[in-house]
């Protein structure tokens, strides 16, 4: 393998129902930063059907070039047609770095592509840096349930591939004055390439707000006690125009939905304000929320590890403190 042939940063721009996924915009922001540092170009690859009119969006968010594969068979994510198309693009464009969002589809596609082109893949990265001496990509990720961080390199194979967690990287401001090249990529696919058949697509939570996008989260843990007690958290969230989320324990207990789970095995969030109510602060939970701007912890146990990451800690009974906070908040709103 001639490593010097591989140049540029490539981002897999994931769409669902024609809608570009937020994590892909975040990756364009991060990819832009890496490309500038390496003095190279940022290419977005965009697979789908009837999506060409959206390719400009990827330029507005940082891409120098968008390679669009528009095909009926690529409308909905399927492993083999996507792998075949992406592998062909990788072999032709020979990128130095490839970033894929660590979604339920990105984590299906990236390993398959990595095995097909026989290169390394680092999963669920939370930080990417360029090594000043070697120009290698330093891919840092949590492991061991978030207990340790590991920095991974891929020294002798190309491309250097990484999936990246949603909600960790920062997207750029949308800028319509940004210029880029749109390339129509032709790919021949037949229904034989599908290998499996999608009988039905069910979207369950389209109407539900996404905790990843919330500016303010009121999160509950085991200390909330029971499902009904989440009502008071809902009230507080409502006053802040925020959303309710929960720790893994509350999801396992059936108190909140899995889509509301914050943590290593759930969603990574970084809201402006994070209330941790009755959450002890298991490492796997902290891994999903410690980047929040301001963290308030309310917990009976003064020794709870959540207080180590909280900006403001209240040792007390959340069932008393939260109603008092709601009352004070209403007062403050009246005064304002």
């Amino acid at each position: 393998m001639n490593i010097s042939e591989y140049k540029g940063v490539m981002v897999f721009a994931e769409q669902r129902d024609g809608e570009i996924q937020k994590v892909s915009l975040e990756l364009l922001g991060e990819g832009r930063r890496l490309a500038d540092e390496l003095k190279t170009d940022l290419t977005a690859i965009f697979l789908g059907h009837d999506i060409r009119n959206k390719a400009n969006e990827l330029v507005y968010y940082g891409a120098d070039k968008v390679v669009v594969a528009d095909h009926e068979i690529l409308k909905t994510y399927m492993t083999e047609p996507y792998t075949k198309t992406m592998t062909k693009m990788v072999n032709e464009y020979k990128p130095d770095i490839i970033l894929v969002g660590a979604t339920a589809f990105g984590r299906d596609l990236a390993p398959r592509v990595s095995a097909r082109v026989a290169t390394g893949l680092t999963a669920d990265c939370t930080s990417l840096e360029v090594d000043k001496d070697t120009s290698l990509l330093l891919m840092t990720r949590p492991a061991f349930g978030g207990n340790i961080m590991a920095t991974i390199i891929c020294p002798d194979h190309r491309p250097q591939m990484s999936t990246v967690r949603a909600g960790v990287m920062l997207k750029l401001e949308r800028d319509e004055s940004r210029k880029g090249e749109i390339v129509d990529y032709s790919i021949s696919l037949s229904s034989d390439d599908k290998r499996v058949e999608i009988l039905e697509i069910v979207n369950e939570e389209k109407t539900k707000a996404n905790i990843e996008d919330a500016n303010i989260l009121v999160s509950g843990g085991r200390g909330v006690g029971k499902k009904e007690n989440f009502d008071i958290l809902e009230k507080l969230a409502h006053e802040f125009k925020g959303l309710v989320s929960g720790s893994r324990a509350t999801v396992d207990a059936g108190w909140v939905d899995r889509s509301q789970q914050v943590g290593q095995t759930g969603t990574t969030v970084r809201p402006d304000l994070y209330f941790a109510c009755g959450i002890s602060g298991a490492i796997q939970h902290l891994a999903g929320m410690e980047e929040s701007e301001f963290i308030i912890a309310i917990n009976k146990n003064a020794e709870a590890p959540i207080f180590d990451v909280a900006d403001l800690g209240i040792v007390g009974d959340l069932h008393k403190v939260i109603p008092a906070v709601i009352e004070e908040l209403k007062k403050a709103k009246k005064e304002a």
Partner: protein, 260 residues
């Protein structure tokens, strides 16, 4: 029907604690378990065995002590257990691991291969899809439900905010989620069989056909440059006051931060 279930023995990461002073991992006393997603995959295989009499083989790559995980799988009802253990495999990343497992699978008959979606120690979710690629068969990951309908599999495949219903012909590989089922316990007679009647076959790199340059630390494209525990962030202020006072402090802080 031949089912191969790939399992991994992992430390129970829920039981791992950090030393608050040094910030290092406390590894002592952490129990080893069958990775939860894999255990649900095994349960799904055993359900098919109960229904149609499938033959279930469990396969793992690991150190000699992974024997324990395989014995547990046998005691739950698996028919055959294979432990791939060799110094040559040590240090394998996901791609090298998948090459070893795929080479072992090529030595057997199979209709369905099941792997857990991801292991709780590595959380990569890569080995399953990479095995499928090496074997050039279809993969369906994030499986929540599995049904056998007229020799085809009908599968509920989860994604963020929904699911696909997918029909797949065999041979294929699926990766399973813990949400799928509640794995059965080992039975007393199963435990007896697992230690007295059944055996765990030990395979080394001599039992499989594989390019030695693609396995172990040297055959792995990715390398760990360093690992570290996250620096402890300076803790903020902590108040132990009555709830009314606490509420006032919270609101004052939020005003200062211009959040309200």
């Amino acid at each position: 029907m031949n089912i191969i279930v790939c399992i991994k023995q992992v430390p129970d990461t829920n039981e791992v604690r950090l030393d608050p002073k040094t910030g290092t991992l406390i590894r002592e006393g952490v129990p080893s378990i069958i990775n939860p997603d894999d255990k649900s995959g095994l349960e799904a295989a055993l359900v098919l065995k109960d229904k149609i009499g499938a033959k279930v083989t469990v396969l793992t790559m690991g150190p000699p002590q992974a024997d324990l995980a395989l014995r547990e799988a046998l005691a739950m009802g698996a028919d055959r257990a294979i432990l791939l253990t060799d110094r040559a495999f040590a240090g394998s990343d996901t791609l090298a691991t998948s090459s070893v497992l795929a080479s072992a699978i090529r030595e057997m008959d199979y209709d369905l291969i099941i792997a857990g979606r991801q292991a709780i120690d590595g959380d990569t979710a890569q080995v399953g899809p990479q095995i499928a690629e090496h074997l050039d068969i279809a993969q369906i990951s994030y499986v929540e439900e599995l049904e056998l309908v007229d020799k085809a599999l009908v599968i509920k495949r989860a994604f963020e905010g929904g699911y696909f219903k997918i029909k797949a012909q065999m041979p294929c590989l699926i990766t399973t989620l813990t949400e799928m089922n509640t794995p059965r316990y080992m039975s007393v007679s199963g435990i007896f069989d697992a230690y007295r009647e059944k055996e765990v076959e030990k395979w080394t790199s001599e039992n499989i056909t594989i390019n030695k340059e693609t396995i172990g630390l040297n055959g792995s494209p990715t390398k760990v440059k360093k690992s570290f525990t996250k620096g402890v962030k300076a803790a903020g202020k902590k108040y132990e006051v009555d709830h009314k006072e606490a509420a006032k402090i919270i609101i004052e802080n939020l005003k200062e931060k211009y959040i309200i």
